[in-house]
């Protein structure tokens, strides 16, 4: 137990110190890793804890991003108020999807299909929504990168890095407490055997709804971060199913249902994925799509040799618990 805290502390200090010695490229990679880690953690609440497979999580990223960005672009409302709007919208969407699915007993792959469907038609809807620029995209004015404007969440890359680091840390802490609480136990019971869970007095509908609500709220925040960090939003990009897949690859590689899996998975995938591209680029080989090929290979290896993800066996090696 103590060992866990020491190692987590060392990792935390390293990450805190990173902007002092990292070049801009490294910092952007680290920001991307943390963004994927945080979003993966949010997805993990639904799938890893409660066993509800969402393959359309980019819906919440996109709606969260668009809501806060549109408020900012059209009315100059900063992201601190915008994030509340994003969360409210995403929670309403998540609750609607969850209600439809759980009320009518849609589960497993059919639930996954439903999440894809909602994400897809939201994408098509945004393609035609002129208020947010339609398929032409929505752009935030790129601010001066050397001044920190916290009220509008504009500033240098390091500010975004620290923001997403804080979010990832909070999500890890929050998930830790959730998993140790009644909610965590009930979710896992539902994941393992819903009928048995119900026989033990668990209102499975209510607890599954709670998982969806928490997960969609967390993902909404990641959308707001995305909007203000990347400054441009296109429906074809942000709602695309490949984005949903990207979100879930990290937790799957790292270990579905584990606390540290999403973080580890995001790091492994991004570092090695970008690393391969960089190395090949340095050798003079520009191979389009090599990253995706690599993702596929890693996925295959993990499924074959580490079906529970990288984290569980690694944690055992390091002498840590879950």
């Amino acid at each position: 137990m103590r060992r866990q805290f020491v190692m987590l502390g060392i990792l935390g200090l390293l990450l805190l110190a990173l902007p002092w010695f990292a070049n801009p490229y490294l910092l952007s990679v680290a920001t991307l890793i943390l963004y994927l880690a945080y979003t993966g953690q949010a997805w993990n609440v639904m799938m890893g804890f409660a066993g509800q497979l969402s393959l359309g999580h980019s819906l919440y990223v996109g709606v969260g991003a668009y809501a806060s960005a549109a408020l900012f672009v059209h009315y100059g409302i900063g992201p601190w108020a915008g994030v509340l709007m994003s969360i409210a919208l995403c929670v309403a969407l998540g609750a609607a999807i969850g209600f439809l699915a759980f009320r009518f007993g849609i589960s497993g792959v059919y639930f996954a299909l439903l999440t894809i469907a909602f994400c897809e038609f939201t994408r098509i809807g945004f393609d035609h929504l002129q208020w947010t620029g339609g398929s032409g995209g929505l752009f935030l004015k790129v601010a001066q990168r050397d001044q920190i404007d916290l009220a509008n969440f504009r500033g240098p890359p390091a500010m975004y890095y620290y923001a997403i680091l804080l979010l990832t840390a909070l999500a890890l802490l929050g998930c830790y407490y959730l998993l140790k609480s009644k909610a965590g136990y009930y979710w896992q019971a539902i994941r393992e055997n819903e009928e048995a869970a119900q026989a033990l007095g668990i209102n499975t509908f209510r607890w599954k709804m709670l998982a969806v609500v928490i997960s969609s709220a967390m993902t909404a925040v990641s959308g707001v971060f995305f909007a203000f960090y990347y400054n441009n939003l296109f429906p074809e990009q942000i709602f695309h199913i490949s984005r949903s897949i990207e979100i879930i690859l990290g937790p799957i590689i790292g270990g579905v249902g584990t606390l540290f899996g999403p973080i580890l998975g995001a790091a492994v995938l991004t570092i090695v994925g970008d690393g391969i591209t960089e190395i090949l680029g340095a050798l003079g080989w520009e191979i389009p799509g090599i990253k995706q090929v690599f993702y596929g290979i890693v996925m295959l290896l993990v499924i074959m040799f580490l079906p529970h993800g990288i984290w569980p066996p690694l944690a055992r090696k390091l002498g840590l618990g879950k």
């Binding site: 009644k182 136990y185 055997n193 009928e195 048995a196 033990l200 007095g201």
Partner: protein, 239 residues
């Protein structure tokens, strides 16, 4: 405590249970027996809220429960085990039981204490940290019981928990249930094929055959009943 009043259930025209009525008084141990396919588990599922009876009424502590969901039935005070065990395979034995004890406990430490006490009662405490998937079948049956007990029910429905146990293990379980019944005042309704356990535990037996109740009464009387002998124990037998 539990009154089942003329419940019937058909599956696609096949009458699984028809017009079954029986009572389980508070503090009693009642056994529901009958040949395979007699409708015992269907009866259980109706009481536990898995599906509603086509007709008839189920009262628990003077409250109609036939329209309740399984979780509501559990909250009302009826715990159940499954004939085909359903452990939360990915969780430890202790965590399995904690899921049950969270019904009445708010905190994890409270739930853990209750769960450990229940595990001790069922002689599973030494295996608390093992994953449930590593348990043998008799231990999984015990885990089913432990999980149900952790919700602190007033009435416990046991669906063939003795099946597959060796005679000595069976006697040990009988002792556990006797003790729960005597010291904690737990009322028990059990489906059982192992007559050794039925005779040792039940004060009353209800016999189902083809969905109908053909006999009821004290164990010694029921096993001498000619109708029961014919359908269930065979025409000539020694008891």
């Amino acid at each position: 405590m539990l009154r089942v009043d003329g419940i019937s259930k058909s599956f696609r025209g096949l009458k699984a249970v028809s017009q079954a009525s029986f009572e389980v008084p508070g503090g009693a141990i009642v056994a529901l027996i009958g040949p395979n396919g007699a409708g015992k588990t269907t009866c259980f599922n109706m009481i536990a809220g898995v599906f509603a009876p086509d007709s008839g009424q189920i009262d628990f502590e003077n409250r109609k429960i036939q329209a309740l969901r399984p979780d509501q039935v559990c909250v009302a005070g009826i715990g159940r085990t499954f004939q085909i065990v359903k452990p939360f395979a990915g969780l430890s034995v202790l965590d399995n039981v904690m899921v049950g004890s969270f019904l009445k406990e708010k905190t994890a430490s409270g739930a853990r204490n209750v769960a450990m006490a229940v595990l001790k009662k069922l002689h599973l405490d030494a295996k608390a940290d093992l994953p449930a998937s590593s348990l043998t079948l008799p231990d999984r049956k015990r885990l089913e019981v432990a999980r149900a007990l952790a919700t602190r029910p007033k009435l416990l429905l046991l669906d063939e928990v003795m099946a597959g146990l060796r005679p000595t293990e069976c006697d040990l379980m009988v002792e556990v249930f006797r003790d729960l019944n005597r010291s904690d005042g737990l009322t028990i309704l059990l489906i059982e094929h192992v007559m050794r356990a039925v005779m040792a535990l039940a004060q009353n037996i209800v016999v189902l055959h083809h969905g109908e109740i053909i006999a009821r009464g004290a164990p010694a009387e029921v096993v001498r009943d000619p109708a029961v002998l014919e359908c269930y124990l065979g025409e000539e037998t020694e008891v």
